[in-house]
Symmetry: C2
Subunit: 371 residues, 2 copies
Amino acid sequence: MSFQLLHVDGGARRGRLVTPHGTVETPTFMPVGTQATVKTMLMRDVESTGAQVVLGNTYHLMLRPGADRVAAFGGLHRFMNWPHTILTDSGGFQVMSLSALRKIDADGVTFKSHVDGSMHRLTPESAVDIQLKLGADIQMQLDECVRLPADAEAIARSVTISLDWGARARRTFLEAGTGRLQFGIVQGGTDPSERARSAEGLVAIGFDGYAIGGLAVGEPQADMFATIDVTEPSLPATSARYLMGVGTPGDLIGAVARGIDMFDCVMPTREGRHGMAYTSEGKINLKNARFATDDTPLDPAIDCHASREYSRGYLHHLVKVGEPLAATLISWHNIAYYQRLMADLRDAIAAGRFAEERARLAAIWGGGEDT
Amino acid sequence: MSFQLLHVDGGARRGRLVTPHGTVETPTFMPVGTQATVKTMLMRDVESTGAQVVLGNTYHLMLRPGADRVAAFGGLHRFMNWPHTILTDSGGFQVMSLSALRKIDADGVTFKSHVDGSMHRLTPESAVDIQLKLGADIQMQLDECVRLPADAEAIARSVTISLDWGARARRTFLEAGTGRLQFGIVQGGTDPSERARSAEGLVAIGFDGYAIGGLAVGEPQADMFATIDVTEPSLPATSARYLMGVGTPGDLIGAVARGIDMFDCVMPTREGRHGMAYTSEGKINLKNARFATDDTPLDPAIDCHASREYSRGYLHHLVKVGEPLAATLISWHNIAYYQRLMADLRDAIAAGRFAEERARLAAIWGGGEDT
């Protein structure tokens, strides 16, 4: 109901997702607002890039400032000044990647905060509750992420437990009756049969959308694409599909070609903080001495204040002397570039010329290969 | 010619300074853009606060990216996206405060860069040349700053050398015939007769404005006010007077009462980066736990995005978790507060009610005492 499939061109999909805080045109890229802020940026500047949805991290927000605190401020939208759609993850991924200690049992996961060493617990039910308090328009079920490579037993166990947790999360979420959206998460590592079992189990439970989790953990791009290829047939065409934590422009191009509708990644902002810019002509390192005397704008092809109003030479100077404005401007441009990339892909799918557009962009970024 | 005195109310002056890049209503506060950026802020956001002039630091800019480089980019205005008035200092103060090694001779000063240890030299003539290359609308003569407290001999020597350098700087500047402005700098520590000798010597040379230097180096506020009191009678009423490196709101209030027209200080931005906000009700530390649950805006009395659109609780969160956006928002608000303070003082002087306005503001900030 919330997702409308507008056009299909080969494997690529042009869609529209409606949430309590707005409409999201897909394929879409969601900037990451980890701690209730997209690092170094004003939310109105994030909005200016055309972003329609941002991601918040349950793990970080439950630790600081806490879900009840955010709820007391009227939820994450109001707290961080973002009136549009917000998706929150369930915390499962950061529990794996950040916590020094985590212990999983059938009921949930107990972990040690990376901030102050305090002990916390997440269950499928409490993760729903926390995300309700945060006010997420789209929330994610709690899942168990395994580190890759993992043996078959560990992968099968994570699929089984994630399916059980998915059913419990769905029940809790539906009982709350909020009119918001909840997505299940497909696990299964790089094992095709486990991916299919996971996807089919989630579809049987019935979510508002389906995510592919457990990727973007350092595996080769070909493995990621292959995993999408084996998972996608088990997902209903009428629901949104979200590839979590991905990725480079080439990753996005190849994944859109495989039917993915939604993405999130820290890359544009993290790389922006290190002087790396994604431009219409490729990735550049503004620290490089060749930019010291470059009086051209960062990327005149992108309709964004940060892309057009500052010379590469000025940005080089800011990066070299360690001025925080460098991070702000390059992050801003990078998000604008990612939004433009997604808009170009959307337009091409709608016009039935996705193959050409993919080839044009893949010449710069990769992602043009069929596996 | 460049400065017009519009109103006088007691010792306070309401004026207008015209430069090649705009009109500056005085008394004015100049945000500091040390390295061709007001730290953590977009220049368009600085502009939104009502700031009409910003300061650039010759010492920093001559080291990185270098005056010739800035000139190649069309000057500092274009390089940093600030189309309004720019004042640059001469580098003398940072040579004293930042360089690990400096050696003064009659002709100039040789110093070691704090960045890479390379050796550099400034003379009265080269400081003019560098500031011309930077494109400053208002440039400052090279002076010798002494660290306070200093003995009488050191103070007298710095006055003598600064007068000699002032004459040389003025000659070089006038030969360039740019139509820009140049200010002399009064030295003399806290010695009234040396301050008078310095001021009278500079007036005899004839500058476009006069600065009081050698203060804001840790001396008590009463000493600073006393030094203004003994210097001001030697300065022509028809020229702008600039108190360098000052200060707190109380410093500004007391100095405006003593006839100062221009100020610059890193305080609003430096304090902003440490979670300290100057508000209409006084200074607050947003790290303080009492703000964690505070849902009110930072300062609704100030017409500024950063002051009105974010709760104190949100800013507390950003400061506590170390998010860069905290520095951006609080710096922005602080500059907006400083601009509002100066606008209130200007309006009061024009309306002949400076004494009441000074009393109102001094109740919050100090600066109400006559020495």
